[in-house]
């Protein structure tokens, strides 16, 4: 096998991409990893925000995978370019707001650009036929290769023997016989291969690799778009969807209420961009109001926030209001009784 060939491996942090890269490394190919950051990735965020999680050891699984393999990892920010994939997926969404097939096409296309810019020879992914119902099927594999433009420079080492030969195989850069024919939803072949290669303690994410596969998160994203009258988000929006209790008492505004201290601290960092409510007469959560609001709206939001404070049974609760960082003022409100909060307000 050639010592000079170079492959770029899409590394998600999961087991399959780790194995795919290892299998190709073991054929004497120089492999470097690439990891795309869309803003929706599950890695770390709630961990960083929630107080109870902050002291647990934490690791970024893509970096961990690269370290296991002794290879470089390039983390690429695709937040802005990725928006169009989320707004208009040509192949539609999965069970939630996850545009998996378009997402894969886009990532392979970006990997192809990187490969060409860095003079690498081919791309590898950890895809396995039948592993995921929407995006990893026998009929979607050529769609990803073709629509990304990678064509036969895209090699899937874990299921290559179930697919037509790619250029790295045809040219003898890699030995097809030493690639695999995994298929279906079972994880057993991957786990056996991991054991034989000496990998332990690898990440086993439940569901997908991003928040867009999460039903509750997807509902919040759709609510955001509905309230804006268009599909549009910024990085701060999608971060805030991961944090706190979201309630929409009126079409034109939403209240984000911290559920614990770490979330409160995180939300406080946004106080100059929003109307911010802080309970002062009792222990209570910090909250942000997202939307253009009147004094009456602020009072309604404050009543909701007071409901989640230690003063929920008190006659009145005092809160400090700061409007986009302007000088704060205080208001007194009666906490809204739990039974008066319509279920429909919870996003």
């Amino acid at each position: 096998m050639s010592q000079n060939r170079k492959a770029v491996a899409l590394i998600s942090g999961g087991l399959d991409s780790l194995l795919a890269a290892k299998v190709i490394q073991d054929q004497g190919i120089h492999v470097e990893g690439i990891n795309f950051y869309t803003g929706f990735c599950v890695e770390g965020h709630t961990h960083a925000i929630r107080k109870k999680d902050r002291n647990k050891p934490k690791r970024n699984n893509a970096l961990w995978s690269a370290e296991q393999l002794g290879m470089k990892l390039h983390i690429v920010d695709i937040i802005d370019e990725y928006k169009d994939v989320v707004y208009n997926p040509r192949h539609g969404y999965g069970a939630n707001m996850n545009p998996c097939l378009d997402c894969k096409i886009f990532m392979v296309q970006k990997a192809l650009e990187w490969m060409q810019a860095h003079d690498f020879d081919f791309i590898i992914t950890g895809e396995v036929i039948g592993q995921r119902p929407k995006s990893q099927r026998k009929d979607t594999m050529p769609v990803i290769s073709n629509e990304s433009g990678a064509d036969d420079l895209l090699l899937r080492p874990l299921c290559a023997r179930n697919l037509p030969e790619t250029r790295p195989e045809k040219e003898g850069w890699v030995n097809r016989e030493q690639l695999f024919d995994f298929s279906g939803r079972t994880r057993k072949p991957q786990m056996a291969l991991a054991a034989s290669l000496g990998f332990e303690d690898y990440a086993q994410p439940a569901g997908g690799c991003c928040f867009l596969t999460d039903a509750a998160y997807s509902i919040k994203l759709q609510d955001l778009w509905k309230s804006r009258g268009e599909k549009r988000y910024e990085l701060d929006d999608i971060m805030l969807l991961k944090v706190g209790r979201h309630m929409r008492p009126r079409e034109h505004f939403k209240v984000i209420i911290a559920r614990e201290e770490g979330e409160g601290k995180f939300l406080r960092g946004y106080r100059k961009q929003f109307v911010c409510l802080d309970t002062v007469s009792h222990a209570g959560p910090l909250a942000l109001i997202d939307g253009e609001v009147t004094r009456q709206d602020i009072e309604l939001a404050a009543q909701l926030v007071a409901r989640y404070s230690q003063g929920r049974s008190a006659e009145s609760v005092e809160l400090e209001v700061s409007d986009h960082g302007a000088e704060a003022y205080r208001i007194q409100v009666a906490p809204m009784p739990a039974h008066e909060i319509p279920q429909g307000w919870h996003v």
């Binding site: 770390g44 965020h45 960083a48 934490k58 690791r59 970024n60 893509a62 970096l63 370290e67 983390i75």
Partner: protein, 77 residues
């Protein structure tokens, strides 16, 4: 000694790593880079990224609520 500063405050991982990575790509070997972060994950992620990409972490510390990582740039190959 002077440092190149990467201000990654209020960014959540992996953004601090990406900021450090992109800054280092423009710098000659030997330069010192000081990353200031508010996500504690930076204390594990930036050193991990440095280990695999050939840069040396000289110091990690916590200053109040800020997480500081000082890196010496290795050879960018």
């Amino acid at each position: 000694m002077s440092h190149e500063i990467v201000d990654a405050r209020r960014l959540l991982c992996p953004m601090p790593v990406i900021r450090v990575q992109n800054r280092i790509a423009e710098l000659p070997a030997g330069t010192l880079v000081k990353a200031i972060c508010s996500d504690p994950g930076a204390l594990s992620d930036i050193p991990a990224w440095c280990r695999i990409n050939g840069h040396q972490v000289l110091e990690t510390r916590v200053d109040d609520d800020e997480y500081i990582v000082i890196v010496q740039v290795g050879e960018n190959t």
